[in-house]
């Protein structure tokens, strides 16, 4: 059972909505449900003073006070240390000999940002043979900013959902704040530092607005810029025109009688703080080539930059060291390829050792080692970094950090990446990142060292508000899978689907057929553009995400199609990458009625 947001009130416990409650609270259950449904507001707890006694206070990475006391009052840390007077009204929290850390901060995140709707609704699935349609870009010569993926004006507070379940998922891992940014393409919007506590809306959780403009090499779909080179070009153009507009506006305000009024432009104006050096471009550069490209662009345009979402920092440590810019590394570490078990009757056939395959596997393993070693390598170079959780499943995070530690990252370095470094990068070290008097009471309390495999987060404090968690994961009850909040029932993939790929001038339609389930899914597809039936490979299902690839021959060409789809009941939508020709939208629907 999770007692979410344990609130003390003399009469009611309005938030106790869970199905099981400990004996002490049991008698209140029925009443509280009724109250909750009738919308009675949450009441202030009787005391906002808490004390944690005889705890291991990890003040900051490398500095531990054993047997210390932490007092939390009115959202702040009142005291953290050895000889501490305990106020009479403090509520004592059972935390004997537990570890107290500063609340973790996601260096870059999309927590609280709802995923876009699976189907845009504009074009539903169509049956094959309907012919080509006009593309949805209004004017290929001049796509709108939105069609081009250029939305730097979007603020987190405009798109954030305070009740998104991703927030609770991160909170129970110990994350208390996050640098969040909107979902988008080359310029998705402005990042903000957001509290991962509870609130009615983004404004209640907003800790710092516009901490940076997010940039990436993600192209638009079907409109310029539809490729990396388009993005690079467009970014240069926007940047220079933003500088022009800024100068123009200054001129105009100085000479309103002799200068024509400049036309406002919300995209270009969003660059002004970057031009003024007030906020950086937080550039997503997962692979090493992207890091080099960001560096080249930065040298050319002279913007302040944070290198974000790095996965291949192993290769570019020296570059990053020379640059000395803030670094946010990705926690999206791929899982090692699973060894296919030999068939049960393998004893019957002679096993031939595949020397080439052995060498390739060794090479792959070596590459995996480099990805795992990124954090340790950058730390060894003395480079501070925080962690990005973009595209990462919450449940994988702790294991990923442990893999990084296994690959040479020290626990102190890992903790710095979770606390002091993101606080410094975000310019909020005076409020967050350490367990010290006067800091915001954002704390993680873990029953063992957080990085211990068997540790559990028991309490999380955010702005002095307590969230309590069970020590061990609740045993899986068959009927409760959905109630757990995640791991919702996997969609049924097997069966026949019709689909449409929308590419300029080359809409392709056909059928997708899947057989089997789980990791044994196989499939094939047909297309109006390619005769015959094509096999599908690398099928992977992760929640409602379905991805697979297919190699097809088009005349002399071999083209690899990479599908990334979201399955929503009987409809699917997403994108397909067609080699370097671009990425196109896909939509489809199940047609065999299952």
């Amino acid at each position: 059972m999770i007692i979410k947001d344990l609130v003390f009130s003399r009469w009611i416990y309005p938030l106790l909505k869970k199905d099981k409650v400990t004996g002490f609270f049991a008698f209140m259950l029925i009443g509280s449900c009724l109250f909750a449904q009738s919308g009675i507001p949450e009441l202030t707890p009787v005391t906002q003073t808490y004390v944690l006694q005889n705890v291991q206070i990890v003040v900051r990475p490398g500095q531990i006070i054993s047997g210390g006391t932490v007092i939390i009052q009115d959202g702040l840390i009142l005291a953290a240390g050895k000889e501490v007077a305990i106020p009479a009204h403090a509520r004592k929290i059972k935390a004997d000999s537990m570890f107290v850390y500063a609340g973790f901060i996601e260096g870059l995140s999309q927590s609280g940002i709802p995923r876009p709707e699976a189907a845009s609704g504009a074009a539903g699935p169509r049956t094959p043979g309907q012919g080509q349609q006009r593309p949805r870009v209004s004017d290929p010569w001049n796509p709108t900013y939105e069609e081009a993926g250029i939305t730097p004006y979007v603020r987190v507070r405009d798109v954030f959902k305070a009740d998104d379940k991703s927030i609770e998922e991160m909170r129970k891992l110990g994350f208390t704040a996050a640098q969040v940014f909107p979902i988008g393409r080359m310029l998705p919007g402005q990042a903000s530092l957001i509290s991962l506590g509870t609130g009615k809306n983004a404004d209640e959780l907003l800790l710092k607005e516009n901490t940076g403009l997010i940039a990436s090499f993600s192209p638009a779909s079907g409109a310029f810029p539809s490729t990396l080179i388009g993005v690079m070009s467009r970014l240069r153009e926007l940047y220079k025109n933003a500088a022009r507009l800024q100068e123009y506006q200054k001129n105009y305000s100085a000479n309103p009688l002799s200068v024509n009024r400049p036309v406002a432009d919300k995209c270009l104006e969003a660059f002004f703080p970057v031009l003024d050096g007030k906020v950086p471009l937080i550039f997503q550069a997962p692979d090493m080539k992207s890091v080099y490209r960001v560096q080249a662009l930065k040298n050319e345009l002279k913007f302040g930059v944070h290198f974000a979402d790095l996965k291949e920092g192993y290769y570019v440590g020296d570059l990053l060291k020379a640059e000395g810019k803030p670094i946010i590394i990705s926690l999206d570490l791929p899982k090692a390829a699973e060894e296919k078990k030999p068939a049960a009757d393998s004893s019957k056939s002679v096993v031939i050792k595949d020397v080439e395959m052995e060498a390739l596997k060794a090479r792959s393993a070596e590459e995996m080692k480099r990805l795992e070693t990124q954090a340790a390598k950058l730390a060894a170079l003395g480079l501070p970094f925080s962690f990005s959780t973009v595209g990462v499943k919450a449940t994988d995070i702790k294991e990923t950090i442990r893999r990084m530690i296994k690959a040479g990252l020290s626990e102190d370095q890992a903790l710095a990446a979770l606390t002091t470094t993101p606080a410094a990068q975000l310019g909020v070290s005076n409020r967050f990142g350490t367990v010290e008097k006067g800091r915001t009471a954002n704390l993680v309390v873990s029953d063992k060292s957080y990085f211990d495999e068997k540790s559990s987060v028991r309490y999380v404090f955010i702005d002095g508000k307590m969230f309590e968690y069970e020590g061990k994961p609740a045993p899986k009850a068959g009927g409760n899978a959905n109630a757990a909040g995640k791991g919702a029932e996997a969609p049924k993939i097997a069966g026949k689907w019709s689909y449409t790929i929308k590419a300029p001038g080359m809409n392709s339609e056909g059928l997708l057929t899947f057989k089997g389930s789980g990791s044994d899914l196989t499939g094939e597809w047909t297309s109006s553009q390619v005769p015959g039936t094509n096999p599908i490979s690398n099928v992977s299902v992760d929640g409602n995400k379905l991805s697979f690839s297919s190699n097809i021959s088009m005349g002399p060409r071999q083209v690899t199609l990479e599908f990334n789809l979201i399955v929503d009941g009987n409809s699917l939508s997403g994108t397909v990458g067609v080699g370097t020709f671009g990425t196109f939208d896909v939509s489809g629907a199940k047609i065999d009625g299952q």
Binding site: W141, T227, I229, M232, K289, R293, A359
Partner: protein, 458 residues
């Protein structure tokens, strides 16, 4: 397993070491030097110092520490140059509008592309990494040196090479934009209009900036024109700072572009593919336009049916600076065979045939002062062959870029990738990139054939 890992690690370190020293010194002893421009020299040494050819003669001594390669019985030729390829880049086509003069494939260089190593294995030291032909006006291209081993995209650029841009005639831009988006160009006439419109806009753009510059002197509050990269690039073509490389097949269209260029006084013009170039060779020669062709590759779509293997020879004999290109990461490995075909079809001399893959593509890329022949003072981009390179038995042994050995046949390992996938143990056989097989030059070939034979389901 440990041993394999160890060997791979060593290889990896070697590659990094190469990347750091981009200019090398070495002595090549006692080979037959094919200078291409100044005849052959037998039993001759060639000295490279700091990436440049400093001496060619007999009895040369290697500077201390420099590597010596014994080329006895071998042929030393200038590194082969491919005037049309798409290797070493992550993006070929920004196909979203009929003109994308604002983009540049130099922004997407890919030092990890295994095709770069494979090209070296065919003696190719430099290539013209081109934008594709989806658009009438494609993006700017990049002349790259095959400095295999570096991880830094910037180190692949041939520093100082002139800017070039891809144009495209005919079916590709018509299909992608006309058929695809129902906009100009839907016809060959429309393609011409995309060029003319682009140049007219560039002239207006230049004029706007001139007006601004003049106005600024009198009025510090003068308003700058809006910066437009597409117009900027087109204006640079008008100023003669960018060489046009135009995807072309039919002679009528080739003449069309000649006329457009004449109207805008554009001199630097190279036709790519140019399958019907033989029909208009005198016109090309008179204009000073150049041609880059396949040896014997055609009929992959309708506009490429009228072709001849004598094309390169006819163009050459008419005085057109002609090269033979690959447009393929497979053909690029045996361009010396492609050049040799002109001796069967057209009886070109050895020097004429070798020029097709060395000094002539260098001229087309504006880099002939630096590479394309073996001369003292030029970059040490060199290929060493066992057997004469125009022989069908020729086998490249060493390929050297800036004096650094980037390919050594005796040290060729099973896995030469600079980076592997961490999650997939791919087999070497499939280590190619589909976009490098054929760019959009062949794009549509299949679809057109399919529709001709009634295979399309629509």
């Amino acid at each position: 397993m440990f041993k394999i890992l160890h060997i791979l690690n060593l290889l990896f370190l070697v590659s990094f070491a190469h990347a750091q020293g981009t200019k090398g010194s070495l002595l090549i002893k006692n080979g037959t030097i094919l200078t291409v421009t100044k005849g052959n020299m037998e039993n001759t040494d060639l000295l490279v110092e700091n990436g440049k050819i400093t001496k060619m003669g007999k009895g040369l001594v290697a500077p201390s520490g420099a590597q010596t390669i014994d080329a006895t019985g071998k042929f030393i030729m200038p590194g082969i140059i491919d005037a049309h390829s798409h290797i070493g880049i992550d993006v070929v086509n920004e196909g979203s509008r009929p003109s994308t003069a604002d983009v540049w494939v130099g922004d997407a260089l890919d030092p990890l592309d295994i095709s770069v190593y494979r090209a070296l294995a065919g003696g190719v030291t430099a290539s013209h990494a081109m934008h594709g032909s989806a658009n009438a006006i494609g993006g700017e291209c990049e002349t790259i040196k095959h400095r295999y081993g570096t991880l830094n995209p910037e180190e692949m650029r041939m520093e100082g090479a002139p800017r070039t841009i891809k144009f495209a005639l005919g079916e590709n831009p018509m299909r992608v934009h006309g058929e695809g988006n129902r906009i100009v160009p839907a016809t060959r006439m429309g393609v011409e209009q995309v060029f003319r419109k682009g140049f007219e806009e560039a002239k207006a753009y230049l004029a706007a900036w001139e007006t601004y510059e003049k106005e600024k002197v009198k009025n510090p509050a003068a308003v700058k024109p809006v910066y437009n990269r597409r117009h900027e690039t087109m204006a640079e073509i008008l100023k003669g700072n960018i060489i046009i490389h135009c995807h072309s097949y039919r002679s009528d269209e080739i003449l069309m572009l000649l006329n457009v260029c004449k109207d805008y006084q554009i001199k630097r013009l190279v036709f790519q593919h140019t399958n019907e170039g033989f029909k208009v060779a005198p016109e090309l020669a008179a204009y000073g336009a150049m041609a880059s062709v396949f040896a014997d590759w055609w009929a992959y779509k309708f506009e490429v049916y009228y072709s001849t293997a004598y094309n390169a020879a006819i163009l050459t004999k008419n005085g057109v600076v002609t090269s033979i290109n690959s447009d393929s990461e497979e053909y690029i490995r045996h361009l010396y065979h492609e050049a040799a075909k002109t001796q069967r079809y057209g009886s070109l001399s050895d020097d004429e045939a070798l020029a097709l893959i060395t000094i002539n593509p260098a001229k087309q890329l504006g880099i002939d002062q630096r590479v394309g022949s073996l001369e003292v003072g030029k970059d040490a981009d060199i290929a060493i062959f066992e057997g004469h390179p125009l022989s069908v038995y020729a086998v490249p042994q060493y390929t050297i870029v800036d004096g650094v050995v980037r390919f050594n046949r005796s040290k060729d390992a099973a896995d030469q990738r600079l980076q592997a996938s961490a999650t997939r143990a791919e087999t070497g056989f499939f280590l190619h990139k589909e976009q490098h097989n054929h760019d959009r030059c062949l794009e549509g070939a299949f679809e057109n054939t399919a529709s001709f034979f009634g295979l399309e389901r629509e």
